[in-house]
């Protein structure tokens, strides 16, 4: 019997905010020899972990669920909340069942966090993935596929397994399927904003960072089957694109308030790291080279990935036009340098193109949203009632 949409949403909420990672414990019981790999945002090539028979789990900080106690003794107060609370998760033993932690070259804080992790958790395999910075060099594919080969070797060592090309191809296929369903879900939201709240879409997608990919794929299929039959809310709202270079996650209430205040979020980058590629990664051929080539040529634009052939601000304008948005909300985590640096370019370009925008900052532990509500409501009114 299929599970209802409401039950799926409840399950997603439970999983996303479960800082005791009971779903990881459940997976380990079913896979006694299995290893669990924590993935710090934004993007991790999960196919590599999956091919090793291991469980990749997104670590998005502690949100409102935990108090920062031990981590503040090791990192400054002027870095982003996600880094502090992720370290707290480690120091307070919430991640005791994790065998490895992956970090990437998204920013200085993430880079240093990988070092802090290595020093404080010597029994855990810590990987710091250097993504290629040059998207056009002929050396980038061999370089990045070599990086991933190194990841495979370390996983083979800790898991006492062998990762074959065939397993990698299978994992690429499994993740292609999952990403395609993510894309279908976001398209559904764009076409039927009243039938799926942005906060619901957020939960459905973010659960994909926690659950085994096959389970998440099956869930998305059921959800997509049920959604068209759902009755929509009749709200008169503006359509917005929400940008935040995610990484640190906003409280769910913030997403709810944005929509409540008069904005249908018809496109966002909340699930950027889980969708990442604009098209399927080729399955045939050398799997690691395929992943590397897709990273260079098929990645979505992002503040944490070096410029490809196309500027990010132009990609944003294209997105606004494609989804027929009335404006852009910049929802940026406090102290997030990549997002704040890009904001300047984005703002200038949007203004030049005559696309309205508003900007506000958030923190994962934020509890009062009245100022943001007022900003968003005023922004929506200015477009809806007077444009």
């Amino acid at each position: 019997m299929s599970v209802s949409l409401q039950q799926h949403l409840q399950r997603c909420r439970k999983v996303v905010y479960d800082m005791n990672f009971t779903y990881v414990d459940a997976w380990r019981q079913q896979h006694p020899q299995g290893k669990v790999v924590g993935c710090f945002p934004v993007y991790i090539p999960r196919e590599v972990i999956h091919a090793a028979g291991m469980l990749p789990v997104g670590i998005y900080g502690g949100g409102l669920e935990i108090e920062i106690d031990r981590a503040d003794a090791r990192v400054q107060s002027f870095i982003c909340s996600i880094s502090r609370s992720t370290l707290e998760l480690g120091m307070s033993h919430y991640l005791k069942n994790f065998d490895a932690m992956y970090f990437t070259s998204v920013c200085d804080v993430a880079r240093n966090l990988s070092g802090v992790w290595e020093r404080n958790f010597p029994s855990v395999l810590v990987e710091y993935i250097h993504f290629p910075q040059n998207m056009e060099s002929k050396s980038s594919v061999p370089y990045y596929s070599g990086e991933m080969r190194g990841l495979c070797q370390n996983l083979e060592r800790i898991g006492n397994v062998t990762i074959t090309d065939e397993q990698l191809r299978h994992s690429i296929q499994v993740y292609n399927e999952n990403r395609a369903l993510h894309r279908q879900l976001t398209t559904f939201k764009q076409e039927n904003p009243g039938k799926l709240d942005a906060s619901e879409l957020y939960l459905l997608q973010r659960a994909g960072a926690c659950l085994p990919v096959e389970e998440h794929t099956a869930m998305l299929r059921e959800v997509l089957d049920e959604l068209p039959r759902r009755e929509g809310k009749r709200r008169d709202r503006i359509r917005v694109v929400l940008e935040g270079a995610f990484c640190e996650q906003p409280p769910l209430e913030l997403i709810e308030i944005i929509e409540e205040a008069g904005c249908d979020i018809v496109a966002s980058d909340f699930a950027l790291g889980l969708m990442w590629f604009l098209e399927d990664v080729p399955v045939q051929g050398n799997p690691l080279e395929n992943l590397a080539r897709s990273y260079l040529t098929q990645s979505d634009y992002s503040s944490v990935r070096h410029y490809g052939l196309k500027r990010r601000d132009y990609s944003l304008v294209e997105k606004v036009r494609r989804v027929k948005a009335d404006g852009v909300l910049f929802c940026i985590a406090k102290f997030c340098e990549p997002a704040l640096i890009d904001y300047v370019t984005h703002k200038n370009t949007l203004e030049r193109e005559g696309i309205p925008l508003v900007n506000f900052e958030f923190e994962e532990k934020m509890g009062v949203f009245e100022n943001i509500r007022m900003q968003v409501e005023t922004f929506a009114e200015s477009i809806l009632l007077f444009a």
Binding site: R234, R235, D236, R237, E260, G262, M374, E377, T378, E381, S382, L384, L385, F386
Partner: protein
Amino acid sequence: MAFTAGIDIGTRMTKTLIYNTDSKEIVAAVIDLTGHNLGAAAQRTFDAALAKAGLKAADIGYVATTGYGRYQVEFRNIQITEISCHSKGALKLFPKTQSVLDVGAQNSRAMRVAPNGRVTSFRMNEKCASGAGRFIERVAGALEIELDQFGPMSLKAANPQEISSVCAVLAESEVINHVTEGQEIEDILMGANNAVSDRIVALLRQVKVEPEVTLTGGVAKNAGMVKALENRLELSLNVSELSEYAGALGACVFASERLAKMGQRVAA
């Protein structure tokens, strides 16, 4: 014939208007105490307004809500801030309005408004209700007089008493002091009007006073307050019997504009 509804769920009173978008006239107006269940107050006044107009819910093409309970109405099409709605409502009542003072039970706001209803500047009172109707209510309560008697009685004041407290709660004890000193009730009432009007005028000065000035919100029914404000501003205020409904009226007008736009979109 198309109709819209504007529902203003205030902290004390909920106001619902039904508006004929063709004749641009109000066809029904209902006001009731808000109580603790904001959504229920909206539903109750909406149903009563429909009955008064002889309409069904399906006849209403668009529902706009405003006021502090605006998010609690499940059947709304849109919620709009009080700032926008009161400005729009004031312009509908007095088309030459350039400044708006909205004094409700819990909040006071001063707005500058462009001829199309766009708010160009606004200020609100601080978190407490010392510059709003709740202050007047507490004084009325302390003196055991009905709220609707407050205005007429205060106009008879010969020697208004000073009420210096900026806090509505502490003002009560100040009022009691005046009573024990044997001051006339009318003078104390006018003193309360003066105290509140001082704070409201300060808000208006921050957005720059530009006549015509229209007063909206429930406090507009207090003639003593109107006089106190006019004395301080040295101009006469626009006040209408519908001033208390200005937020709901603005919501109705916005709703009819949105309905017309949506109709154009469908036609296109």
